[in-house]
């Protein structure tokens, strides 16, 4: 369980709160999508979850952030990072090695994983991300999508309880983005890992997330099942959050009185609604 209770934070150099009165409970194994306009506080929220706040960014910290049994204020960043694995928005800034297997080994060696376990973890992580064939490739020779998978493999090799990803598909094509989300969902379900993804691609979040969190001006504006959150399409658009066209279509049908059911989150659900309207 990851739990933020009455959490507020103001960076030391700022005169306003970046996050205010955040209450969020994420059960184990949940796939959470976080989105919001630029500057809304999404990245700050991830820094609170992985302990970067308060350990690296000083400021005024109120309330509590609990990961598993750790209070992030009291626990060391090393202990928090054993529970929470983070993948940066800029994956090039995360890479430390020149060969794929060295990149994955870096974390395992730093975490003091037993030598007889290292090979298993390395192989499992590369296979889980579908990049076993890239093991000896130089990182410079990889495409953006391949690098993204290496970054993910490096983190899942550490077997964290929580995977925290900041815009993991920003530079990926639609097929690669979909593949990364499918890999994440499969991994999360198989290992009961909590996955938290900050992402602008709302259609992907709507498709994959169990829970959608919308951040606006440092506060949580919506928090719930994707279809329930997306039912507020006009309010979302007003605060700078995109809505899948499939959702907008069905919300439009509801407004025109052609459909009285609930909102939808993807194309398949929208097609079913259209067939219902046409029946």
């Amino acid at each position: 369980m990851l739990c933020l209770k009455d959490f507020s934070f103001k960076y030391a150099e700022s005169d306003r709160f970046a996050l205010r009165d955040i209450n969020l409970a994420v059960p184990d194994g949940c796939f959470v999508g976080i989105t919001g306009a630029a500057g809304s506080g999404k990245s700050t929220l991830t820094y609170a979850m992985n302990g970067i706040i308060p350990h690296c960014y000083p400021g005024d910290f109120f309330g509590s952030v609990i990961v598993g049994s750790l209070d992030t204020v009291d626990a060391s960043l090393t202990d928090i990072s054993r529970l929470v694995g983070s993948v940066c928005q800029d994956i090039d800034s995360q890479m430390v090695a020149s060969i794929v297997e060295d990149e994955v080994l870096y974390g395992l060696e730093n975490f003091g994983v037993r030598t007889d376990e290292v090979e298993v973890r390395l192989t499992d992580a590369l296979e889980a991300m579908g990049i076993a064939d890239l093991r000896t490739r130089t990182i410079d020779s990889l495409s953006g999508g391949q690098k993204q998978k290496v970054a993910l493999a490096s983190i899942i090799a550490l077997r964290p309880k929580v995977l925290l990803l900041d815009e993991p598909t920003a530079e990926l094509d639609p097929a690669s983005s979909l593949a990364v989300f499918e890999l994440l969902r499969e991994y999360a379900h198989h290992h009961q890992t909590t996955v938290i993804v900050v992402e602008q691609k709302i259609a992907l979040l709507a498709d994959f997330a169990d829970k959608l969190v919308i951040v606006e001006k440092g506060r949580i504006r919506f928090d719930g099942a994707p279809a329930d959150v997306l039912a507020h399409s006009e309010e979302l658009l007003e605060i700078g959050v995109n809505v899948p066209r499939a959702t907008s279509l069905v919300n439009g049908l509801r407004q025109r009185g052609l459909y009285r059911g609930s909102a939808v989150r993807d194309v398949d659900e929208a097609v079913a609604v259209c067939e219902e309207v046409l029946a």
């Binding site: 919001g36 306009a37 630029a38 500057g39 928005q89 495409s143 953006g144 999508g145 815009e167 920003a170 530079e171 990926l172 094509d173 639609p174 097929a175 690669s176 983005s177 979909l178 602008q200 709302i202 259609a203 658009l237 700078g240 959050v241 995109n242 899948p244 066209r245 499939a246 907008s248 279509l249 439009g252 049908l253 025109r256 052609l258 194309v267 929208a270 097609v271 259209c274 067939e275 309207v277 046409l278």
Partner: protein, 282 residues
């Protein structure tokens, strides 16, 4: 006019990244290049402004091969927006950034100053702001503005909306649409099929260094074989449209099959539903 005539290109003289690519982009076109990572889209863009020269074939800008043009001559014709604005921005103030292109071309005169003033006002920039202290969306707008200010007849944009939120994306694309409306030829790489559907007039789909489809936007985006070859998904409304026609082929001649936007689909569904209520359609 930009012409690619049987163009091949490679970064290491061994493995070709582009293979025998031919197409023509007419003045005033708004073309989107789509395809998976590694399909050769960015390489195609680099060939247009001479960052890369073909290993075979010719790239012609207004009839002149890029191999016969100096970088400065190409830069005066083809504006180029990099995917990452931080690889483009190099000055200490917004104003200097916008003047950089004029200075590089020895044209930092009164006209250039007036152009920069006009762009600063149009975009609402703080002229004295430090570019690297601006947020990601504003840096992207600044990089775009530094291209627009030069008034080149062609602009090449490599994923202009990557990393932007919904509002920033709409703002960038609306500015690009205005630019196109005033006669600039726009060529962009874009992974967001909704943006491609909303703005581009023509789509060139690439895979493995080759062009696999080239035509009006929705003709390509609704072409199953092109989508399969490029591992792309159509925008959501055309996806819904195609599924409805697959479910009932009799719908192929109705507005349901032609709907590309939310409003078009809503109108088509309402008309069809109304007709059925009146017993006009079985």
């Amino acid at each position: 006019m930009i012409e690619f005539k049987a163009v091949s290109a490679s970064y290491d003289d061994e493995m070709p990244v582009l293979k025998d690519v031919s197409f023509t982009i007419d003045d005033g076109d708004f073309v989107a290049f789509v395809g998976t990572n590694g399909a050769g889209k960015s390489t195609t863009m680099r060939l247009m402004n001479g960052l890369l020269k073909p290993t075979a074939g010719e790239v012609l800008i207004d009839g002149v091969p890029t191999t016969q043009l100096k970088t400065s001559q190409l830069a005066a014709q083809v504006g180029f927006l990099f995917q990452n604005p931080d690889r483009q921005i190099c000055c200490n103030t917004v104003r200097d950034e916008l003047l950089f292109g004029f200075r590089a071309q020895g044209r930092a005169d009164a006209h250039a100053e007036a152009r920069v003033d006009a762009i600063i006002e149009q975009f609402g920039f703080d002229a004295d702001a430090e570019p690297f202290l601006l947020n990601r969306g504003t840096r992207q707008l600044l990089a775009l503005a530094s291209i627009i200010v030069m008034e080149t007849p062609y602009v090449v944009l490599d994923e202009p909306t990557t990393g932007l939120d919904f509002r920033e994306c709409a703002k960038v694309m609306d500015i690009i649409a205005q630019l196109h409306a005033h006669g600039t030829t726009v060529i962009m790489v874009c992974h967001d099929m909704e943006v491609v559907g909303d703005y581009a007039q023509r789509v060139i789909a690439m895979t493995a260094g080759r062009v696999v489809a080239d035509g009006p936007t929705f003709q390509v985006l609704c072409d199953r074989s092109a989508l399969d070859a490029t591992h792309l998904l159509a925008p959501q409304i055309p996806q819904i449209s195609m599924a409805l026609v697959e479910n009932d082929p009799a719908r192929a001649d109705t507005a349901l099959a032609r709907a590309n936007t939310v409003d078009e689909m809503l109108d088509a569904l309402q008309a069809q539903e109304g007709a059925m209520s009146c017993g006009e359609v079985s």
